[in-house]
Symmetry: C2
Subunit: 218 residues, 2 copies
DNA sequence: ACATGTGAAGTTATTCACAGCC
DNA sequence: GGCTGTGAATAACTTCACATGT
């Protein structure tokens, strides 16, 4: 658990934990790496490697104890005192994310939203108070918010990111279709839906072309 | 342009094209790989490698002709006759995606939406007709839809994916936080926002820990 | 001079395959 | 026998570095 872990492993651990929670909720006490792999859509070796990073050890006879493994992944991923996020841009996408996250994870919570629209400011959106963007610096410092989620239109994204960084956040999750520039001490991740759709379009077509060219694979 | 191209390269090509469109719209005729790299947040060598896949060649003196490169990437990525998509699940996230995509790309368009809510069925949502889910098979075949976008809650996602596959789609883009199982001839991609946020949380904290431990980096 | 295009090298990620254990 | 944990092998991806062209 001391050595550097890749972004992919971290992402998959987050996924395993979610899958494990589902298993626990239907009463499953133990899983084998193969089962988790099938659920996660990867290989069993991958699952075992990833779990190594958390320091947890399963049993060759029973596999992994679901609750213990959830705890181990959580110890690895989560900050002991939790981390608080703010969302900027309460459009459709912002609301969708608020609806999904608010009140779900106590250790990774969205505690404030920002928008310029007077119809949204000073109201609760899916249980999260929306402030005017001009209040960003103050609210982020007062509420000890360390993560920012950007759901504004692309042209505003970089400016919002700069404001978030100035307010002292450590990480930014950007949904605007424009890569961000942030200082080295801030971690930024882009979720690009256009890219995702174009990837699907490309590879879906590619497979179809192959299928037509070579209808009998074996 | 004949050999297999990686998903990462395809994704970046999609990004380059978007960045190039922005450059064209402000009148930029030529770019060097370094410029594109800075905008895309990667290295110049990466840009040049990726562009190789499209078969386009720049000039050592002027760099890449923005319009020509857009055309080359489009020839590489896009289906000649375009591809039509359907979105299933007209909640906040579904509406956000419709608002963003509808009417934007003629060669990769969302032409139908599906939901079970009677308040949404047979109405237009952001310019896209919403049908009852029971109509899925018929509409997808009639309108020659080949891609599905899933924005329903996690428990319904697999069932929706199965319906889409049965209706004959080639690819699925899944926003529900549950990995899908699809047959080998269908391409599926998951966009997992929870995973993305947890990744940001983890690495943001990690950097902060390092910063505190070692405040003077050089 | 300085940029592209690209083999070669380097780096990172995944899978194999088997020792060890129940 | 079939699982985990993991060194070793493989594959995938990125960067280097330089030949080539203008």
């Amino acid at each position: 658990m001391a050595d550097r872990v890749s972004a992919k492993t971290v992402g998959r651990l987050s996924l395993y934990r979610r899958l494990l929670s589902g298993l626990v909720s239907v009463g499953t006490r133990y899983v084998f790496s193969h089962d988790l792999a099938r659920l996660a859509g990867c290989t069993a070796a991958q699952v075992r490697r990833d779990i190594m990073a958390t320091g947890y050890h399963g049993s060759p006879t029973r596999g992994y104890d679901t609750l213990e493994l959830i705890r181990s992944i959580s110890d690895f991923l989560d900050a002991p005192d939790g981390m608080r996020s703010a969302l900027v841009g309460v459009g459709n996408l912002g609301r969708a994310i608020l609806a999904y996250f608010v009140g779900r994870r106590p250790r990774l919570s969205i505690v404030a939203a920002f928008d310029n629209d007077p119809d949204k400011v000073d109201r609760d959106v899916h249980g999260c108070r929306c402030h005017n963007t001009s209040e960003m610096q103050r609210v982020i410092r007062e509420q000890e918010i360390v993560l920012g989620i950007i759901t504004v239109p692309a042209p505003e994204a970089q400016h919002v990111a700069d404001q978030l960084v100035r307010a002292g956040v450590w990480g930014v999750l950007n949904f605007a279709p424009a890569p961000l520039r942030v200082p080295a001490h801030v971690y930024a991740e882009d979720v690009d839906m256009t890219m995702a759709l174009e990837k699907v379009a490309y590879f879906a077509r590619q497979r179809q072309v192959e299928r037509v060219a070579e209808p009998e694979p074996g």
